[in-house]
Symmetry: C2
Subunit: 198 residues, 2 copies
């Protein structure tokens, strides 16, 4: 391919994005070429801004461009209810429900001895300090239902219980809109075990 060098370089950059192959990268690059220069400048600026201005909230570890993250800084949130998640993406997912009014604690990882990640490598200490210092009524363990997610939730729950805080876990069950026929047996078993009265 003998394209113009800046174009080739841009295609290479786009091709590094997760799940983007050569053809899609090329489509993206041509989209950029078709933009008014002003808009292309905005795009490039957004990348730089996000990368340079965003850091971790010192309280919860969520991403922020200010002193505290928007959720820790918000007045109306219940500070006594802490939802523990693996990743800032999970915060966005919960926020989309528009139903949760507590705060978060972002671990930035899960305990995974296989990958050499122990409790020291993730943001567990911050959570304990926070519960110790500010107090909390309930901590919801909302890590993913994987082996590492479960192990991390169990580990943290064991550390939190002596502090006298209620520790809960997200419900397992059939996803809404899901099909019983296609549900795996573990999910189905959990859905049975967690059944509630109508």
């Amino acid at each position: 391919m003998e394209g113009a060098l800046p174009l080739v370089k841009l295609i290479e950059q786009f091709a590094k994005l997760p799940g983007v192959g050569r053809k899609t990268a090329q489509r993206f690059a041509f989209y950029i070429l078709d933009l008014p220069e002003e808009k292309a400048r905005d795009f490039a600026g957004a990348i730089l801004d996000a990368r340079t201005k965003i850091k971790k909230c010192p309280v919860c570890g969520n991403l922020t461009d200010g002193e505290l993250c928007p959720i820790c800084a918000a007045k109306g949130r219940e500070k006594g209810l802490i939802c523990v998640v693996e990743d800032p993406r999970d915060v966005l997912a919960f926020e989309r429900t528009k139903e949760y009014n507590g705060v978060y604690h972002v671990l930035h990882g899960l305990i995974s001895p296989m990958d050499g990640v122990g409790p020291e490598q993730i943001n567990v200490k911050g959570l304990l300090e926070r519960v110790n210092k500010d107090g909390a009524e309930e901590v919801i363990m909302a890590t993913n239902p994987t082996v590492e997610g479960e192990a991390t939730a169990m580990y943290i729950a064991r550390l939190l219980k002596p502090l006298g805080v209620k520790v809960t876990r997200l419900a397992y069950g059939i996803p809404v809109g899901g099909n019983l026929e296609y549900a795996d047996e573990v999910t189905l078993y959990r859905a049975l075990a967690g059944r509630s009265e109508l």
Copy 2:
């Protein structure tokens, strides 16, 4: 969603890319956040560079960051063989075959009276001047096999023939790896009509 503002803005930018929805845009944005600052700077720079440095080759209309496009500037290409395409993307597609050694002419559009695009809006005049001035042995019409592509090819062919140049059209037929069972009747008819001796 109460994400940090620079992150929200970056997600919005990625979501504008063709075929990218909110979730994918979010994945892309988090990829950027995970990059070393240097690499994020390269990415932003590639967007700006591509948009500001790339312009049309004055000879063939292909994209270039130099005086002439790399193909027009190349010594070894047959200047007497001109492949006429709709879009710079098509040039990249032909170059990937590594079999074509002629030059190109990029129309930047197709004649489409429905959309108010006449022969004046696309790069036809440049092609005629080029053939007139520099001479050419053969012009391959390589527009897409759509109504507009066909009409544009026919129109240009009619203008070129009086100049004494050979005008050809890409072959139609079954795509390699394709299945006869699933080929549409027009393609099958064209494959039959264009059959060659073994």
